[in-house]
């Protein structure tokens, strides 16, 4: 008996602890948030784009040129590149994920989904993702290559510069890293390049073959500099000195480091939600949750009296556990996800309802209160299990095959049903056993009955 009471107290204390955590780790609820520990600061609710505002972009990756076995490798490479690019622009918590093609997932194409919280300017978002810095090294065309000369309308002769040079195998693909450097004499910014192993060999070969000639460095198809090679360079380092401003040089370094896209991509769909709209949705969701919770609590207490009150307590702990899980896992909350959570509050008390109805029935058949509670729990278990299984099956299938919107709903609903099954049964049971001291009087029997009956 005392063991159970101590257990009940422990559960209440855990509940208080969880409540403390949930409140203190939320910026809007904690006045002193700036000074809170980093653990608390790192566990705010993670809001989906439809709640926080931002852009959701779906790209199709054209992998037709990639050999079948290497598709997933090149998709991973693509994700990494885009992740780096997005990070470069200082977007907080971007999400870049691959959606694989294949029959089971219902996609015919390899897709890349990019979520950019806080970015509501689609143009800007598209730009930062789509920009492909194409770095090429070209050597002088061998003498005797026919060169086309155009005579402009004003009579001037234009020599097409692009024909003076021919492409080599060396491109930005073989770049290990780029660094920002300053010329020691002129203080001009320049970009230092370090090639990887293959790149080093290629560069060595190119410089060896072209001593005394120029090697042109092209960026995005335009020549930026054409230094003369004085000697063979086996170290795999090079530098580009154009007429860069420091900002330009810095940007170029960033873009070169983020690398070129391994496969071409095209934009399939965009979705942008303004911050105000998202904020309104959050407020409405929170309001609906609180009102829903209060109505359920009121119903439980009015209909089931003392056990109802205990069920409300168990429900409080359920809500705290779920919210804590949302923060710790973390679950990205969307409007649909919040709906799933709110519905799960309603489903969470189902188990309690089934148990209490059974207890009431056992009381009518003449059992003592403690007997009725014990049999009520054991007999209601099968109904609880069976009635929740179908919801869990639905949630699992929705989560497995759904799109991101559907997944958000399925996850919160499924988690809610699972956690509530445990919380409603175990926590309510412990609390109910704790208050057995109520006795067997008329008052006690009244407290344990339900509905409009006496």
């Amino acid at each position: 008996m005392w063991k159970k009471r101590i257990l009940a107290i422990v559960i209440v204390l855990i509940g208080v602890g969880l409540a403390f955590f949930v409140v203190k780790s939320e910026y809007k609820l904690n006045k002193n948030f700036g000074n809170a520990s980093s653990f608390l600061q790192n566990h705010q609710f993670r809001l989906g784009l439809d709640l926080s505002g931002g852009s959701h972009l779906i790209y199709k990756a054209d992998v037709s040129a990639v050999p079948a076995g290497q598709v997933s490798d090149s998709m991973n490479a693509l994700r990494d590149v885009i992740e780096r690019r997005v990070n470069l622009f200082g977007v907080s918590e971007p999400v870049v994920q691959i959606q694989e093609g294949g029959f089971i997932s219902g996609n015919s194409d390899e897709k890349l989904i990019v979520d950019l919280p806080g970015v509501t300017d689609v143009k800007k978002a598209e730009d930062m993702i789509g920009q492909t810095p194409l770095l090429e090294f070209k050597v002088e065309a061998p003498k005797g290559t026919p060169q086309q000369v155009k005579v402009g309308p004003d009579g001037k002769v234009n020599l097409d510069a692009s024909q003076q040079y021919v492409s080599t195998e060396l491109t930005g693909r073989y770049l290990k890293k780029a660094t920002l450097e300053f010329d020691q004499n002129t203080r001009e910014p320049k970009v230092g390049l370090q090639f990887d192993d293959t790149g080093t060999k290629l560069f060595d070969q190119i410089t060896k073959d072209n001593v005394g000639k120029t090697v042109a460095i092209y960026l995005d198809g335009a020549p930026i500099s054409a230094p003369v090679v004085r000697e063979e360079i086996p170290s795999g380092t090079a530098e580009i000195s154009g007429n860069f401003t420091p900002t330009e040089a810095k940007q170029l370094v960033g873009r070169l480091n983020s690398g070129a896209l391994p496969v071409p991509i095209t934009l399939l769909s965009t979705q942008t939600i303004g911050a105000i709209l998202g904020n309104n949705a959050v407020h409405a969701g929170v309001k609906a949750s609180i009102i829903g919770f209060l109505i359920i609590a009121l119903f439980l207490i009015l209909w089931y009296r003392l056990p109802g009150l205990i069920a409300v307590l168990a429900l409080c702990i359920y809500v705290l556990v779920i919210l804590t899980l949302f923060k710790l896992m973390p679950v990205t909350l969307t409007a649909a996800g919040m709906a799933g959570f709110i519905i799960s509050i309603g489903i969470a008390v189902d188990a309690n309802v089934l148990i209490f109805e059974r207890v009431k029935e056992e009381l009518r058949s003449g059992r003592t209160i403690s007997d009725a509670v014990a049999t009520g729990f054991s007999r209601a278990w099968f109904s609880i299990r069976d009635s929740n299984i179908s919801s869990i099956i639905t949630a699992i299938i929705l989560f497995w095959f759904g799109t991101s919107l559907i997944k958000g709903f399925a996850l919160t609903l499924g988690m809610g049903v699972l956690v509530s099954m445990l919380s409603a049964i175990t926590i309510t049971r412990i609390f109910l056993y704790t208050i057995e001291f109520v006795g067997e009087g008329k008052v006690a029997r009244f407290l344990f009955s339900s509905g409009i009956s006496k």
């Binding site: 309104n280 609906a288 919040m338 299984i389």
Partner: protein, 309 residues
């Protein structure tokens, strides 16, 4: 019990409701109500700082953009929702320029959603896949849950009855939705599919609570070797209808709170689910059990007829 005695009336009511729902699906053409989630297209919502411009003026300037058919809908106090085919970023910029009349009418874009047709196709496929998988899983689950009940009605008949009530529970909310979509322009989107599937999951549990009780009572009676089927079902109903209503009521209460106070995007979702929960509970009391008794009575009649022959 009242419901079992008047089972034919209640079964007829359910059939009538389902028939009405199906008729409304055809009359109001639900297949023409697919949202851009499925068909592809763009939805642009803008809020004007001051009063919004006259719709006719905007329509003419939007026609000039050559974006195909563009639909302009007033929303809220100062907003418009623009529906069009899916837009590229350039077209999107042109649209915003036209809406703001070259910047003369200050506006903010509250949301923009452009979905390519291939994404829509994919969602269609996924929706079908989900419906098939979940229906199969639930039928398997029912078959499993009732594998031990065999007398006097065999377990697969319970299964079929549960599936029939499920169809009933899904058909009526869809019927209500088609009427809503006809009068309020609500569209069939991804959430609609989720709502239908969630109704499947939730309403089967309600029927199972009652069938569970019938199962238990049948087992107890089998021990004393005296089975009056319709009485047992009636008694089981009497014992369990309160809890069946209460468990659904708690869910309906939170759903109504979601409908009245929740985010705009999940409003109709909540309404669909409320209707689904309501008819799910209704059908497990007023349809599933009467059907069960009716099936048993047909069985006995057939047996008697055979004996006579």
């Amino acid at each position: 019990m009242f419901i079992i005695k008047n089972k034919k009336i209640f079964i007829s009511i359910s059939i009538a409701l389902v028939v009405l729902s199906i008729i409304s699906m055809f009359v109001f053409k639900i297949n023409k109500r697919l949202g851009i989630d499925f068909t592809g297209g763009a939805l642009t919502e803008v809020a004007y700082k001051d009063a919004r411009p006259v719709q006719a003026d905007l329509n003419t300037s939007l026609q000039a953009l050559n974006l195909g058919s563009v639909l302009l809908q007033p929303a809220g106090e100062t907003s418009y929702i623009v529906k069009s085919r899916d837009l590229t970023e350039t077209e999107h910029a042109l649209l915003l320029k036209a809406l703001s009349n070259d910047g003369k009418n200050v506006l903010t874009e509250t949301s923009f959603n452009s979905i390519g047709p291939s994404i829509g196709q994919e969602l269609k496929f996924k929706a079908l896949l989900l419906i098939v998988l979940i229906s199969l899983a639930i039928i398997l689950f029912i078959a499993f849950a009732f594998r031990k009940v065999s007398k006097p009605v065999s377990s697969w008949k319970y299964g079929i009855i549960v599936v029939l009530t499920l169809l009933h529970d899904v058909a009526i909310p869809i019927g209500i939705f088609t009427i809503l979509s006809h009068f309020y322009g609500v569209e069939v989107d991804a959430l609609f599919v989720v709502a239908v599937l969630t109704i499947l999951g939730l309403s089967v549990s309600d029927t199972i609570v009652i069938f569970d009780r019938i199962r238990e009572n049948l087992r107890n009676q089998a021990m004393i070797n005296k089975i009056n089927f319709s009485e047992t079902v009636g008694k089981s109903l009497e014992q369990s209808y309160v809890r069946s209503i209460c468990t659904s009521l708690t869910v309906i209460l939170v759903l109504l709170s979601l409908f009245f106070f929740g985010p705009v995007s999940t409003k109709y979702f909540a309404l669909m689910l409320t209707a689904g929960m309501f008819f799910g509970t209704y059908s497990s009391i007023f349809l599933a059990s009467p059907l069960l008794v009716w099936v048993e009575e047909m069985q006995t009649k057939n047996k008697e007829n055979k004996k006579k022959k």
